[in-house]
Symmetry: C2
Subunit: 239 residues, 2 copies
């Protein structure tokens, strides 16, 4: 059962979501069932990059995690692409045995029984601006698969007013989930322009806009967080 | 029992620490037993600003919080100065009755029985660069006062290598506390220069330095977070 690996890097800090600031090693899988308009990791999504993805088994992935972490237990962040497409049971079982913790981020389009083995699961259904459709049944299957022992949170990317309205309605249906809103990076890096410079003023303006929306609407449950790695490392890969 | 109030403002987001990104109203008390070299809120610390601090009772503070929050329950962040110098029992009792949650930040130099009524307590003992001394006995009295029902975290500001070494040693003595490291703002606003412009490149360089230290030392428990409000609002007051 091999896992398609796009990249393994770190340790660095988690730049977004509920675990923002936590030291972590990222394991990015290759392959995705979505193709979001503003995707910032197309090199882990588009089939034309498939040749760059290495098939690795759980032991091989953990050997690399341990090499990077210096053999110390660390938070491993599973990202993609959509890591929910991969067979990760063995990675979670072996990794927990070595003391690692596991957080995963997925759009919630595919549930796996092993979600319940994760320490943290960030469900990040994609808003209208992505061009993708929300499938409630599949999303709820992900919630059910995570069960009570996995800390689940909802992270919604907001590019515009329509996304914001969508997020308000969606979040209201899941009051039990901690909620993070994240302004969409208006200038994501692409395989063609990996060094594209992000304008920090523009990112900050998007963040201020979102804070103003949330406070004006008295939506005090909604935590607003930027992508810290974009602010501090400017879209660079591998950090 | 009146509370010395420097300012009440919001709602905005919490810019730092474990609750980073949470919508909140800030209640800043006036008066402090410390005088840190890099203090960014001298207007709530130095006795020469005492005439600006209003004595308010708990009902008056809550009336202002409710006006700002539109009457909705919200996270109230008690900051200073050192809010631990104030009589806050009644504020916490009445505020909880209205559905508000309370987070407080203090250096841990003075314990109060009402710490156990807080929802979140951030203890932020000051590092050597502040010019202040750490008093372990008082710090542990704060921990004891908080008890088991208050979520306590440790937030340590790091200006230089000496601060970093101090933080490593201190945090090791309290492995049970969630830990946040925060790079010191090298150019805090002052009453004389409230509009002082912070150089985002310099702030980012301090953050990158701290991430590199933590990961090189495999200190994976240490969450590294910036002061988001400084990055996005540039030291401005009242946001």
């Amino acid at each position: 059962m091999s896992i398609a690996i796009s990249e393994i890097f770190g340790p660095t800090i988690q730049g977004e979501g509920r675990l923002i600031g936590m030291p972590t090693v990222f394991v990015r899988t290759g392959g995705c069932d979505f193709r979001c308009s503003w995707c910032d990791t197309l090199y882990a999504v588009e089939p034309r990059f498939k040749a760059d993805w290495r098939p690795m088994d759980a032991g091989g992935v953990l050997a690399e995690v341990n090499r990077l972490s210096g053999g110390e237990p660390i938070l491993v962040t599973l990202s993609g692409g959509n890591p929910a497409l991969q067979p990760l049971t063995e990675l979670l079982r072996l990794g927990h045995g070595q003391g690692h913790a596991f957080a995963m981020e997925t759009q919630g389009s595919k549930a796996q029984a092993w979600f319940g083995m994760l320490d943290h699961l960030t469900l990040s259904p994609k808003p209208p601006s992505s061009g993708m459709a929300f499938n409630r049944e599949r999303f709820e299957a992900c919630l059910a698969a995570a069960g009570a022992d996995t800390q689940v949170s909802l992270k919604l990317v907001i590019a515009d007013e329509a996304d914001y309205r969508w997020a308000r309605a969606l979040a209201a249906d899941y009051p039990q989930l901690p909620l993070v809103l994240q302004p969409c990076n208006p200038t994501p890096a692409t395989p063609e322009q990996p060094e594209l410079t992000t304008d920090p003023e523009r990112l900050n303006a998007r963040l201020r806009w979102l804070v103003e929306k949330v406070t004006a609407d008295r939506w005090y449950r909604a935590r607003v967080l930027p992508q810290l790695h974009v602010l501090i490392w400017n879209n660079e890969r591998g950090v």
